[in-house]
């Protein structure tokens, strides 16, 4: 938890690794994931680095693995999940992996080749069989003597009819891809000028396409033609269209014979089954070892890529690596090196550096969500005050101010609680939906947001826009009625009545907790709440900003810039407190000083505040306390006087330090640059104080919008369900409640929740963090074999 306040101390270190044990050392460090390696040869292109051969070997192996994986996938198998993280293989083991994997791949290749050749042969035979069978329909003689010889019944081409004309009819038969049929037919017709008869028919069963592996219904064609020249042309064309052409005997008898022969050959192809079985065995073996190998080789490749970033010392016996290392982990690193090295001569040494080290803030599952909110704005500069621990409380609180409703808060809290309780269930963890994962990552944030919303809901006294009366109201209507002697007739004619707090007994002091429920019946409910919420926003905003300015102190002290305490922090604080702090004081003073009795003469704070800047006083607006005008004048003068201090203080201080002879600095500071920077900062701060205070009014606006929206939902939807205390009313209530529930979740919880979240985010990033946070750092990315990078 200590490192959450500011990032951990990180140092630059050199690792001296003996060539012999460098590999095992890096492997050990990768398992622990402690260090970020720096590239010492940025100018050397990847193929000129030292361990390029090893990297290439890993790539070769990966290529083999990809082949194996593809074969597995083609066979419809999934490799077994990797049991636990295997360590990077030692050189000899890597060699073994390589040998075995290549052997397996070779075996697999041979088996699948013989299988596919067998399959091809089988397909070929079956296609031939189909061609012959389908061809029969066109070329066979009519069966049976009883069939009359009519043109329609006669086969299209009867070779026997033409024998006596002494013209030889030849056939080209084969199969063609269905997509190519039309083009093929057209081209045949054009090229051969119609001296042929082509018939096409679909094959009765689909077969595999050898090119794509898809199963398609091929088309069988049978072309009859006269003359040898045309025959050649047809063969050429069918060749061009990648048709499979089969021999088609001319006589009926030899065709039947061919069919029986083909049947016989298909029967003979029983070796296919054995081959399939053997293939399955090989695949089993692959599925078992592949995942482990993959992880091992990935680790090995990563190690060599890191080694490629190291440089050699002069004796060439030792590799030098430069790393960013958290100071806390130095002993662990030493430990890892001792374990990894054979002879124990690998060691780590800190080196001084002027470079700014990377930022390392260790988080746990609770703080990670808050830290990521801060990191999304900018990673903290090295050792800067980290706003995340304060955001743990302020963020949900500011959210809740805008989202205050007991019912909605409770729903949100329960949703988050469910996620928190079942956070270890793999079903929640391994969702692939990005939006869901975002919610899941922020479950603790949502939990707190829900809890705080319940609290502010009680303060606002709103539960699904309805007030709850936990305590009896402090206002007594009976007393008022007795005092004014309201008759029934009077009550019937007057829809709205006034309760006067000045009448004794009507107002018995403040409600114990939150807003009195009687206000929800009042017509001036909104006026009352607006005044309350507006003042609350300003007060909270100024407290929040003041806290931000205070946090700057820790930065100034930590970075040994004590002059900034006086020259920056002090004027900033005076400026903020003298103007806006005074406003907060006025608000509280008026709340305490004026009661219902003298509320008619209570002065307006707004006019007083404007008069304060104009150095005037208004006769109609009574002073709040004696001596108000001189106090205000002093405060304004103080605030104005702090501006030049803020503007000129730091630049002049730097300038004086430069001029002082005893501190001659080699690097000349550019005075103009410092001055410009400070001027921008001053303008930003002074204008920011005004605009940021106004910006906090969004708390008021958003909470008002939320309350109004939920009230609208209640009165326009839910109230329609209350048609009467009958069975009909009960039935009507069901769909009305369904609509109410859906709208509540969709609009009030999700949409309003997101909007309040965004505004809370803005208030933190802009209004709070710009008071002290630079956020110009970069994260420490340790070299680690993270489990999520496998596969």
């Amino acid at each position: 938890m200590g490192s959450l306040f500011r990032s951990e101390e990180v140092c630059l270190a050199q690792l001296f690794l003996q060539s012999a044990s460098a590999y095992s050392c890096i492997s050990e460090l990768g398992e622990r994931g402690l260090l970020e390696f720096r590239d010492l040869n940025p100018k050397v292109s990847p193929f000129q680095r030292r361990f390029v051969g090893e990297v290439r070997r890993c790539e070769e192996m990966e290529k083999t693995f990809t082949f194996l994986q593809q074969e597995l996938r083609a066979a419809g198998r999934l490799p077994a999940p990797c049991p636990e993280s295997p360590r990077a293989p030692a050189a000899r083991e890597a060699l073994r992996v390589q040998e075995q994997s290549e052997q397996l791949a070779q075996e697999l290749r041979e088996v699948s080749r013989s299988r596919s050749s067998l399959r091809d042969r089988l397909r070929d035979l079956r296609q031939h069989l189909h061609v012959l069978r389908e061809g029969q329909r066109f070329t066979s003689l009519p069966v049976g003597p009883g069939v009359p010889a009519g043109l329609g019944r006669e086969p299209i081409l009867d070779p026997s009819l033409h024998h006596h004309l002494d013209r030889k009819i030849n056939f080209v038969a084969g199969v063609i891809h269905p997509w190519r049929v039309t083009a093929f037919e057209r081209l045949l017709w054009r090229a051969c000028r119609g001296y042929l008869v082509a018939s096409f028919v679909e094959m009765p069963e689909p077969m595999e396409d050898p090119a794509t592996g898809e199963s398609i219904t091929w088309v069988i064609f049978l072309i009859s033609y006269w003359g040898e020249q045309i025959g050649q042309k047809i063969r050429k064309i069918s060749n061009c269209f990648h048709c499979q052409v089969y021999g088609y005997p001319e006589s009926e008898a030899s065709r039947t014979e061919a069919i029986t022969r083909l049947h016989g050959q298909i029967q003979e192809l029983s070796t296919l089954e054995e081959t399939e079985k053997y293939l399955a065995e090989v695949l089993d073996k692959v599925a078992q070892v592949l995942p482990t190998w993959r992880v091992q080789v990935q680790k090995m490749k990563a190690i060599y890529l890191v080694l490629n970033q190291c440089s050699f010392d002069v004796t060439k016996k030792c590799l030098i690596a430069e790393v960013w290392c958290p100071v806390r982990d130095l002993t662990q690193v030493q430990d890892a090196l001792r374990q990894g090295s054979v002879s124990g001569s690998c060691f780590v040494q800190r080196v001084p550096t002027t470079e700014s080290p990377p930022t390392l803030i260790r988080t746990n599952k609770f703080t990670a969500g808050f830290q990521s909110i801060v990191d999304a704005y900018g990673v903290a500069s090295y050792q800067e005050v980290n706003p995340a621990p304060y955001a743990i409380i302020t963020f949900p609180f500011i959210f809740a101010i805008m989202f205050g409703d007991v019912g909605h808060g409770l729903l949100m809290f329960l949703f988050a609680l469910w996620m928190v309780l079942y956070e270890d269930s793999p079903r929640l963890r391994q969702g692939t939906n990005e939006i869901w994962l975002t919610f899941f990552e922020g479950r603790y944030l949502i939990l707190l947001m829900g809890a705080f919303s319940i609290y502010t809901g009680f303060i606002y006294n709103e539960c699904f826009s309805k007030a709850t009366a936990i305590f009896p109201s402090a206002w007594s209507v009976a007393t008022m009625a007795n005092h004014s002697s309201w008759s029934s007739a009077y009550l019937a004619t007057h829809p709205s009545l006034t309760l006067d707090p000045n009448v004794t007994g009507v107002f018995q002091g403040p409600y114990p907790f939150g807003i009195d429920p009687i206000w929800s019946l009042a017509t001036n409910h909104l006026n009352f709440l607006n005044s309350f919420k507006m003042k609350m926003s300003v007060v909270l905003g100024i407290v929040h900003m003041g806290f931000g300015v205070m946090l700057g102190v820790f930065n100034h002290v930590h970075f040994q810039q004590r002059h900034r305490l006086v020259l920056e922090f002090l004027p900033e604080m005076i400026f903020l407190l003298a103007l806006f702090g005074y406003l907060v004081f006025l608000i509280f003073y008026k709340w305490i000083k004026f009661s219902a009795a003298d509320s008619r003469v209570a002065p307006s704070i707004l006019i007083h505040f404007i008069d304060m800047f104009l150095f005037t006083s208004n006769a109609e607006n009574l002073p709040l306390y004696p001596g108000q005008v001189p106090v205000q004048m002093v405060l304004v003068v103080l605030a104005l006087a702090s501006v030049p201090v803020l503007l000129l203080g730091t630049p002049l201080y730097q300038w004086c330090r430069q001029r002082a002879p005893r501190t001659v600095r080699p690097r000349a500071h550019d005075f103009a640059e410092i001055f410009m920077h400070q001027a921008i900062h001053t303008i930003e701060y002074c204008l920011g104080c005004v605009s940021n205070t106004a910006s906090y009014l969004r708390l008021w606006a958003l909470s008002l919008a939320h309350a109004q929206l939920s009230e609208v939902l209640w009165s326009m939807v839910m109230r329609n369900g209350f048609v009467g205390l009958s069975y009909v009313g009960g039935v009507v209530l069901v769909p009305v409640f369904a609509a109410f529930a859906v709208l509540t979740v969709a609009i009030l919880l999700v949409m309003e929740g997101l909007s309040a979240f965004l505004h809370a985010l803005r208030l933190h990033w802009v209004e709070f963090q710009n008071k002290f946070y630079v956020g110009a750092g970069y994260k420490l990315c340790p070299f680690a074999f993270a489990p999520d990078t496998w596969e």
Partner: protein, 351 residues
């Protein structure tokens, strides 16, 4: 509505234009070429290409790496990208992209006819065709014995039919006629493409005009230079010149009457662009050939296409630049594999 294309261009073509600009960022830079030229073996070349946008395009090659595998894979990658464009394109971009493929189709048809003439089997020729220009009936080209048959039987269905009207003759297909046919096809193709771009108007026409004009003029120059010492008469030669270039009409007349290289060069001197191109050419060993000089000028024109938005020229330019890149990589790979390093720097850098 030419002239207002900016307003509605993105509705139909915005996605693809964004995509092509993204792809353009992956074109190798001169720094990449310097690194590639330092490679010792093809494996080095592969390793370096892995660090660029080509990524793992050679990762699954088993067996030793050869220049032809590299070439094939480069072309496959371009083809994949182009098909993606084509499949997602609306009219008129779809037609525009079709036009881009026609030039490759012409080359393929001619290649197949020439190959058949030399008695090469079609199976050997087919892989040599550019994949961008392959079409269904392509391989059947070999059965034709004369241009009429070629047209009536095969090409009549293809988009090339429109360009074929000029080439119909009863002549046999010999080498000379094939060459003439190629140039006539190209001439009609370029003129049709030019007309199509003019019809699109707006920035598309503005960008494509110089590119196609240059293409036409380049062909005119090359036809002239190649026809020296052949039987081609000057009249016939003039008929082959595409008429959509800057040389039309006076320059083409002059070219038609040229008798040797010097006269061609003199014609080029009337035109500032071509003067510069011809001046860059030398006959020495370290100097550029005319072909390279033309390629260089083409690259320059194509790169300019990316300076404007809302037009189709980027697609044409991207394909052409990528093709040049393929040529460059293959050239470097050839030099590496043949250990002929002196000319390795004769590639044409793009960016």
């Amino acid at each position: 509505m030419p002239g207002y294309s900016e307003f509605y261009f993105n509705v139909d073509h915005g996605y693809l234009e964004g995509l092509v600009r993204g792809f353009k960022a992956g074109i190798l830079t001169s720094a990449d070429y310097v690194n590639l030229a330092q490679c010792e073996t093809l494996e080095d070349l592969k390793l370096h290409l892995q660090t660029t946008d080509y990524g793992n395009f050679l990762a699954n090659e088993t067996g030793p790496l050869t220049v032809s595998t590299i070439d094939e894979k480069l072309k496959t990658k371009l083809l994949t990208e182009f098909h993606y464009f084509r499949n997602h394109a609306f009219e008129p971009l779809a037609t525009f992209l079709n036009f881009v493929t026609y030039s490759y189709m012409i080359d393929n048809v001619i290649l197949l006819i020439t190959g058949t003439l030399h008695q090469r089997p079609i199976a050997e020729l087919a892989p040599k065709c550019h994949p961008l220009g392959s079409f269904e009936q392509m391989e059947a080209v070999s059965i034709a014995s004369n241009p009429t048959e070629l047209f009536n039987a095969i090409l009549v269905d293809t988009p090339l039919a429109a360009f074929f009207q000029d080439c119909l003759s009863e002549n046999d297909l010999d080498e000379m006629n094939i060459e003439i046919m190629r140039n006539k096809l190209y001439k009609s193709y370029l003129e049709a493409f030019y007309k199509f771009c003019e019809k699109q108007g707006g920035t598309t026409a503005e960008i494509m005009r110089p590119i196609l004009e240059f293409e036409a003029d380049r062909r005119a120059f090359i036809i002239t230079i190649n026809s020296f010492g052949t039987e081609l008469s000057k009249d016939d030669r003039e008929k082959l010149y595409p008429t959509c270039g800057k040389l039309y009409p006076e320059g083409l007349h002059l070219l038609a009457n040229a008798d040797d290289y010097e006269q061609v060069k003199r014609v080029a001197e009337y035109y500032a662009d071509y003067k510069a191109v011809f001046e860059g050419v030398g006959s020495g060993t370290g100097e550029k050939t005319l072909e390279d000089a033309f390629f260089e000028h083409e690259v320059k024109l194509n790169v300019l296409a990316f300076n404007n938005q809302f037009h189709f020229g980027v697609f044409y330019a991207y394909v052409k630049l990528k093709e040049q890149e393929c040529r460059n990589i293959v050239w470097i790979a050839e030099c590496i594999s043949q250990r002929h390093r002196t000319k390795i720097n004769n590639y044409i850098p793009i960016f």
